[in-house]
Amino acid sequence: MSTISSKQKIEASLKKRYARERRFRLYGVVSISISSLFLMVLLFTIISKGLPAFQQTWINLDVTLSPALLGVDANADPEALFSAKYAKVIKASLKEMFPGVKGRKQKRALKNLVSNSAAWDLRDKVLENPKLIGTTQSFWFLAKDDIDVFMKGGIDRNLPESDRRIKDYQLEWIDKLIAEGRLEKRFNTTLFTAGDSREPEQAGMLGAIMGSFFTMLVTLLLSFPIGVAAAAYLEEFAPQNNRWVDFIEININNLAAVPSIVFGLLGLAVFINFFGVPRSTPLVGGLVLTLMTLPTIIIASRAAIKSVPPSIKEAAIGLGASRVQTLFHHTLPLAMPGILTGTIIGMAQALGETAPLLMIGMVAFVADVPGSIVDPATVMPVQVYLWSDSPERAFTERTSAAIMILLGFLVIMNSAAIWLRKKFERRW
């Protein structure tokens, strides 16, 4: 009697246990699918919005470089060539192509078929070869952002004219240009080779990428040695059960959770106002981000050092190595994969940071590509923010494209962390 009932009991409870297990697995699957759904939606919106930005419309013009309009001839000195009236020449060639354009509004619209960078491009070509003056040449120029948006389908030509940024007469011009094969979409190299610009068609990420690079360089050069030294000391040399050591440990863990804007305020007060480090430079940005990444690196490095088996250290000491020798010859090399992973994750965090940079003037319009750690610069996430705040329609797609580039760098860094761990990981 009792044996049967206990068997029944077990069977009944077994069923319950299996059900519970299945339920738990189901919860897991559901939560993973919800989070991946969100991720998919996010990625989909960013990519579908950003893809058009990788193309750019160009316009072909036959430009007559007449000395009369330019105000200089082929023998002029470079100074004069530099400040010649190139915009006039381009205007004239547009007028020639579309005769009979009347009224201020239409004339302005005609001028705005091509980007105002056309004049600088033409200048550079003439400076390279002054003999072009007096001849007629065929050049490709960047199209203005409105034309570009229209070519990518961002403006519906079936809307009533008053609701469109491209008017009927502009449509006529565009159709004519297309028919003559003078309008072409090409891969947008500007996005990768230019600095920031207020004209969407001339705006690029290179300035921000270089800014991020220099900032990360400063951060890495400072935070890695300091972080590893601090971790090694705390793990291997600091006296155990010392009140001061405990105090420092608590502070490091706290620092890891401090909102990043606080580091920006600290950077403003200490580095800029007290030490006089120049504002808006990768140097001061790197210093601030160093403060931010240090706790992450210290915590990860300590965990990595702790996981090296004591038997290895003891063997080294037993063979007569000093504690410093043990650390540098055995413990640190073995802990390096973990330390590097922590460092890369810390750096990836720093790469995506904007809030502390706001306080130290790195949220700024910087058109020139920075060439050193003391040139004014901005960084990639700041570029995303600045573009998202611009009124021009064409910046919407560029904002998404900038996010894609930033995500690309983050993915590369995080995969490097995984690769390093896989490659150098040792199991005991």
């Binding site: 403006i155 809307l159 207020r198 006089g276 504002r279 140097l283 210093l287 700024a364 611009s390 009124p391």
Partner: protein, 365 residues
């Protein structure tokens, strides 16, 4: 030990590098200030960088007040050379500048900016008076008797004014940190507020008290006046939508009954998505703002630190570029970005004064 020396060495190099930079001076212009002027100043800076051989100026958008704070911190390479502002410099700011040794400032008015009150294209057309705007958005509105205030009871625009559509009052606008919000409160809200006689009398009484020498009373009355006119309701009818005007435009598209408050340049760029409301019967347009007919518009400025001219290369040339007819004239490239130019005579005079670096003098107001 090895590490300690390495770290010290790194710090020494860094400090040396930075002090070297500050000693050598700066080869680019530094500009700070208003986020409203930022889109215009950046375009000029970029053209200036392309046209000349000077470096492109660096521009930070700090807001007008934040700009003056940095600008007036002193003379010297570490302080900005130019600050942009969507309002005139205040006496207190001017005095602070002088106290810190910034004695010679050139003021350049560059044009006007209109503040649009807009809704989605498919929404109803609004024809608002400033009084409607004030009644719809103030925290407390005048009661039946003069001197009496009651919490804002209005739920729909029709409650405010029977001529308006019967849709819920829902306005998306900038937060208090924004210059646009300041200007909106001053021009639109106060403009409507003043239409109530007894509130207007408060301001007059304050001035009278000041003349009589009763400073405390004058201040209290002014505070009361400002409190009534500038305080925006907090019951959800006014939604702070952040400084990003693009976001407001996007939200308006999704919600045709909501109104949004933002700069004219955003309306200009998004004419296919949103339309501006008429204010006091005047449509928001380029010409109406330039003529001063549209009531919610304000002047824009930039201020130059004259002591830096000659020390930082290019400041004079930047001013010349900014005050060129091709730049800020009626056909200039800034008007394409939504700037409303000054009148012809005023512009010519302003260009002359700016290029001569005429120092600003502020009398006692």
């Amino acid at each position: 030990m090895k590490h300690a020396t390495a770290i010290t060495a790194a710090f020494v190099t860094l400090t040396a590098a930075s002090s070297q930079v500050s000693a050598a001076g700066r080869d680019h212009i530094e500009i700070v200030g208003s986020s409203t002027v930022y889109p215009f100043a950046t375009v000029v800076a970029e053209t200036f960088g392309n046209k000349t051989k000077f470096k492109t100026p660096k521009i930070e958008s700090t807001g007008s007040g934040g700009g003056f704070k940095l600008f007036c911190a002193g003379n010297g390479i570490k302080t900005p050379d130019i600050t942009n502002a969507s309002r005139r410099i205040k006496k207190s700011e001017f005095d602070k500048c002088a106290k810190n040794g910034v004695n010679s400032i050139t003021e350049v008015q560059i044009g006007y900016d209109g503040i649009a009150i807009a809704n989605a294209k498919e929404g109803p057309q609004f024809n608002l008076s400033l009084r409607d705007v004030f009644l719809a958005l103030a925290k407390e509105v005048p009661g039946t008797e003069p001197g009496q205030l009651k919490p804002n009871p209005y739920k729909t625009w029709k409650d405010v004014n029977p001529a308006l559509p019967a849709v819920k009052i829902e306005v998306l606008g900038p937060p208090p940190t924004s210059g646009t919000r300041d200007a909106f409160a001053e021009l639109a809200m106060e403009g409507g507020c003043k239409t109530f006689g007894w509130i207007k009398d408060l301001k007059a009484a304050s001035k009278k008290a000041k003349k009589a020498g009763d400073k405390d009373k004058a201040k209290a009355l002014k505070q009361q006046y400002k409190g009534i006119c500038h305080t925006v309701r907090e019951d959800g009818a006014y939604i702070e939508a952040g400084e990003n005007d693009n976001l407001i435009v996007q939200k308006l598209e999704k919600n045709p009954n909501a109104l949004g408050i933002f700069g004219f340049s955003f309306l200009d760029q998004n004419g296919d998505k949103v339309k501006g409301a008429q204010v006091d019967g005047v449509e928001i347009s380029f010409d109406n703002i330039a003529d001063g007919k549209y009531p919610v518009s304000r002047p824009l400025f930039f201020y130059v630190k004259n002591d830096h001219v000659g020390k930082v290369p290019g400041i004079k040339e930047y001013i010349v570029e900014f005050t060129e007819e091709d730049t800020w004239g009626p056909d200039g490239y800034l008007t394409e970005k939504g700037l409303i130019p000054l009148g012809d005579e005023q512009r010519a005079q302003m260009a002359k004064d700016a290029r001569a670096l005429k120092p600003l003098k502020l009398g006692n107001e």
